[in-house]
Subunit: 347 residues, 2 copies
């Protein structure tokens, strides 16, 4: 056992406060990681506030972890002390179901072990990356390629893979029209990734306030969804729409922007069901789909892709005592485009 | 011009009555067809009662047409006098859009010309198959293979292709688990077709009242959706669910029955939007999709497939004066499994 410094939510309603937590001994297949940076994801807030179900408090969130290996178990082969590594949204899975066997651990049928708030295989509750170090099974530890700094690598472990995976699955690439709804943490990664894959990218945002950024990131066009003309002008246009907005939007209106056989893919989920006009689906054999993070192999592929193409999130680095303020700003969409905690400030 | 006997709805609220309508001269690329049988589709009722938008009355419905060629235009190459032929839901399309050019006339971007209630290229309103004969562009006339009787061929032109197309598109076949929601006119065709394609088919119906029929048609299993245990027992089971029910059902519950990467495909549409729980989509990268009829080439393929595999709808043949009673029974789901009008009784 070892003691880590951490920031934890004591309840659904209290601010996060500094604390210490226990990490397990480094087992034969475990990797101990000194965390250098951890991104702030909107999911951290939903989780800690109990908006997605019961939470075993105190809750230590954080699933965009980048750091350096400090120790490895005797059987570890993938990583060595001193390696630059990352951990994303999951730290284990059953390893035996049809999905795990084909390398889709993110869709583990009994359910994978999330980086925070899950029951781990030893019965303890997992605690995430708002902390100084973590111990993780080597199979769920990613290699961060040389071309990527650790601070910008951190948000790739969730915001990066969550957008990369559906872009690959629904074949974003040359000759394909891709729209990204929302230009936040996930949206700005979707724009950069889809553009690097060769697709023609359009941003659909409530207003034009971030238009300059969107075009700089690689979008070919930028439209305000507050303008009804957008929905007429772009009807039947897109092969793929990635919706990064978790708030309730008029899905049926966005479905009308899909070309024949097009897919609108949600990567976030509002808590209430969304009304879908079925005629919009029928008319052009359109689909409304969802996608959750990506597999471990695909996450490695994404990191390598980002290093190769010089893609990085745009970040604002904060110290641990700024976490609560940062959360407020995330909820007001006042961040361009991802907060990253400098873990050396955890004390 | 020629005069055809027909049954027409004079308004949204009146019963259908016998009348006569004019058919255009047989143009160079036209085929004149003596209609022998016409299926009754629930869409006929929705349309004539104005439930899907404004209707140019009097309305002559019917888009499951089977008959014999009585005359052809000078440039017609596909069909000859005496041929056994069929006409489905569309009688023309723009021929120039991206979808028409790739042979997906059903998704014609400016919109195809429906067999009834559409504005035809000559400005007249199309009138459907509840009539003694019809004149149609040869490109939209199907060949009925020798192995199929005309009475059972008729419902294939809508109920058959509407289910065949999504089964092919979403790859029903050996090793695939396919569920069919609803065992009516479309549902019973979906069961027969999916089973002939080699998929393992499960019927999901409100009650077990038609279980014997479903199993006889090729289903391997039959479950009542009124029993909550069905949704636990079959969770994550199906690669494809074809929903033939136009009434509002709990789509989110059915999405939970899909395996990873599975698709729930609606082939009918309720008029009100359906609430969709997005988490159900995210968890296993599921899709909620729609599909509308099929292309002309695919419709021919379906007719040939049915002849080859000895597949036919189960029909109840009626005379024209029974049409209004048959409509009442369709609305009460009291038909096993499709009404077909004997067109010789039109007078």
């Amino acid at each position: 056992m070892s003691t880590a410094n951490a920031y934890a939510a004591p309840s659904a309603h209290d601010a996060l406060t500094p604390t210490t937590i226990e990490r397990r001994e480094v087992g034969p297949r475990d990797v101990a990681i000194d965390i250098k940076y951890c991104g702030i994801c909107h999911s951290d807030i939903h989780h800690c506030r109990g908006e997605w179900g019961d939470v075993p408090y105190p809750a230590v969130p954080g699933h965009e972890i980048a750091g350096v290996v400090s120790a490895v178990g005797a059987e570890v082969r993938k990583h060595a002390v001193g390696d630059r590594v990352g951990v994303g949204c999951m730290v284990n899975s059953c390893g035996e179901c049809a999905n795990c066997l084909k390398g889709d651990e993110q869709y583990c049928i009994p359910g994978n072990t999330q980086t925070y708030g899950s029951v781990d295989r030893d019965g303890t509750i997992t605690r995430g990356g708002y902390s100084s170090h973590v111990v993780v099974d080597e199979a769920f530890v990613l290699r961060i390629p040389d071309g990527l700094e650790l601070d910008v690598a951190a948000p790739l472990l969730c915001a990066g893979i969550t957008t990369y995976s559906p872009l690959r699955h629904w074949e974003a690439g040359p000759g394909r029209q891709v729209a990204v709804v929302g230009l936040g943490g996930l949206g700005h990664m979707a724009v950069k990734l889809a553009s690097a894959m060769g697709a023609e990218v359009t941003v659909l945002s409530q207003t034009l306030s971030k238009q300059e950024d969107g075009l700089r990131m690689g979008a070919a066009a930028y439209h305000a969804t507050s303008d009804p003309a957008t929905f007429e002008q772009l009807a039947n246009r897109f092969d793929l729409i990635i919706n990064t907005v978790s708030a309730e939007i008029d899905i049926s209106a966005f479905l009308g922007l899909l070309a024949t056989d097009g897919a609108l893919v949600n990567v976030g989920a509002p808590s209430a069901p969304l009304p879908v006009a079925v005629f919009s689906l029928l008319l052009h054999r359109r689909s409304f789909a969802g996608s959750a993070i990506g597999s471990i192999a695909e996450t490695q592929e994404m990191l390598d892709f980002c290093a190769e193409h010089g893609i990085a999130p745009e970040i604002e680095t904060i110290s641990a005592d700024q976490i609560n303020d940062a959360w407020e700003r995330v909820m007001q969409s006042d961040v361009r485009y991802r907060f990253v905690i400098d873990s050396s400030t955890l004390g």
